[in-house]
């Protein structure tokens, strides 16, 4: 799956989760860019992404994700 297609899909997940149509994600987007996304609901984002793509991240993988690009590359690697 193309990285851009994954970002697009993750964007949809964000819009649904945070009930905010205005969210536009890019590879460099992080918690400072998306107002509603913080450390408290970060795990909701992760579980929603894992559920949608039917994947499971390891603890160390998740700890090293710094932005949406890292997360989506992680998804891409899992999907093979």
């Amino acid at each position: 799956m193309e990285l851009n297609a994954i970002i697009k899909q993750v964007n949809k997940i964000f819009i649904e989760l945070f009930e905010d149509e205005s969210i536009v994600l890019s590879e460099k987007s992080d918690t400072s860019e998306v107002e509603a996304w913080d450390s408290l609901n970060h795990i909701q984002v992760i579980t929603a992404v894992e559920k949608y793509f039917k994947i499971r991240f390891e603890l160390n993988e998740l700890l090293n994700f710094q932005n949406i690009g890292d997360l989506c590359r992680g998804v891409q690697a899992k999907l093979g």
Binding site: L40, N41, I43, I46, L59, N60
Partner: protein, 475 residues
């Protein structure tokens, strides 16, 4: 050597002269020697402890990186945790643990045999132990390489401006800056100098003035009434903030004079709109440390538990933040209260979002700021009292009556009001961005020079110069 003392500033100026006169390649050594002198001046035995932490963790960091298997890496991680937490527990928590266990036993065997009679908490221990653990965990996770240069690693832990009061630095921020020094730079000198003056104002004028009042109230609890407790309760958060952030500003300002940027530790916390927002602005180096190394790993591991996983992770994280302050049940309860408020924040997020759309923004925000401040002020009653019954008693008195307000010296109250207004106005302007009205950030060197001259004059007139007390040294 308190960083508000004359001795500290003489030491700082001497170190700066030697630092800038030395070739760049020797400057790390200049700062290491200066930091060792600084710490020796505080107490020689502390140096032995910190050198043990530095040397063992330097080796372990490299060993973790070089280990081929996860199992071996984990063994080295446990060894590091054993050393670091062992030292921390021995000096900070041992007596309290023995005392608490003894409560459940009839005889005094434990107390007689295991209580340490003359144990003194080395200053800065909690700060540099957490910093070291963060460094080791980063290597273990593979998010950074170990530091091979021993002098650089030693300076990372020892750097004297942040040694006693933090910020709890991160390897990714501080290590790359060590060794990359430039020529004496006007910008650094001005920015550092301004921060130091501002820090001195916060500490000597605001915090120490308020402490004269708050200490008078808390040292004689039975003599005071509800009105007095309410005023002391409302002033105490401003005192703690001015005290801790004042010292932090001096630390960050001192580091800046050497061209080193330490991380931000406070971001107008008294203007936070909810408790989660507050903890993103208050003692950021500790709260982000706990978020990265405690909260996030727990919440990830327990993500199948749903929202209970978040509750569980928050409770553990805030109990650790509480206990970081000391081995007392008061701090545990302080942590639990903060966690409970964060859980409330999380559960009511959508409701509050909808509510904020129905009420004019300035009204909603003002109420949110006031409520957050009041919550923090009342939670600090538990933090300030030395025993739980004292805290319960104060809250009981506050809820059950009024009475004539205790004013010790009218001049103290006047200085408190002026100092607090200047501090909060500056934070207000920083928060809402109208920097041209801020005496600390005004443009034009004439205005700046005038503003800072007035501030220095006011520090001399209204400052408390008896040495005072730094609340966060004890941690």
């Amino acid at each position: 050597m308190i960083s508000t003392s004359i001795v500290y500033f003489i030491f700082l100026v001497c170190t700066l002269i030697v630092f800038y006169l030395s070739p760049v390649k020797y400057r790390n050594y200049v700062l290491i020697i200066a930091s060792l002198v600084f710490y020796t001046y505080v107490k020689f035995s502390y140096v032995i402890i910190i050198l043990t932490v530095i040397s063992t963790n330097y080796v372990i960091g490299i060993k973790i990186e070089d280990s081929d298997t996860k199992k071996l890496k984990t063994r080295y991680l446990y060894l590091s945790l054993l050393i670091n937490l062992g030292i921390l527990i021995y000096f900070k928590y041992w007596n309290s643990i023995i005392n608490n266990i003894s409560l459940f036993s009839a005889d005094s065997f434990l107390k007689n045999n295991f209580l340490l009679r003359e144990i003194i908490l080395p200053l800065g221990l909690s700060y540099y132990i957490f910093q070291t653990i963060g460094y080791i965990l980063d290597i273990y996770r593979g998010s950074r390489k170990s530091e091979k240069n021993f002098s650089k690693f030693s300076l990372f832990i020892l750097f004297f401006p942040k040694l006693l009061v933090g910020p709890i630095e991160r390897a990714k921020n501080l290590l790359p800056q060590l060794g990359k020094y430039h020529l004496l730079n006007k910008e650094d000198l001005i920015a550092g100098g301004k921060l130091i003056i501002w820090g001195l104002f916060k500490k000597l004028v605001v915090a120490d003035r308020i402490s004269l009042y708050v200490d008078a109230v808390y040292s004689n609890l039975p003599s005071h009434n509800a009105s007095t407790f309410c005023l002391a309760t409302l002033l105490y958060p401003i005192q703690v903030y001015a005290d801790f952030s004042g010292y932090t500003d001096i630390a960050i300002g001192s580091a800046r004079l050497f061209g080193i940027n330490l991380m931000e530790n406070f971001k107008q916390p008294l203007f936070a709109k909810n408790v989660s927002d507050f903890w993103r602005r208050w003692h950021i180096s500790l709260s982000s440390w706990v978020s990265d190394y405690i909260y996030t790993p727990i919440v990830i591991k327990r993500r199948d538990w749903g929202s209970f996983g978040v509750v569980y992770a928050l409770l553990i994280s805030f109990i650790i933040i509480g206990v970081w302050h000391g081995a007392s049940w008061n701090y545990v309860i302080f942590g639990i209260i903060q966690a409970a408020a964060l859980i409330y924040d999380l559960e009511t997020k959508n409701f509050r979002k909808k509510l904020s759309k129905r009420i004019p923004g300035y009204i909603y925000n003002t109420f949110s700021i006031l409520l957050t401040f009041l919550f923090f002020a009342f939670s600090l009653v538990v933090f300030r009292t030395t025993n739980l019954s004292g805290a319960v008693n104060i809250i009981h008195v506050m809820l059950s009556g009024s009475g004539k307000l205790f004013i010790d010296h009218p001049s103290t109250m006047l200085f408190i009001i002026i100092g607090s207004v200047i501090l909060l106005t500056s934070d207000f302007i920083k928060e809402y961005g109208k920097t041209r009205y801020n005496v600390i950030h005004v443009r034009g060197w004439i205005f700046q020079a005038l503003a800072y001259s007035l501030l220095i004059l006011y520090i001399i007139v209204a400052g408390v110069f008896d040495g005072g007390q730094f609340i966060y040294f004890a941690f």
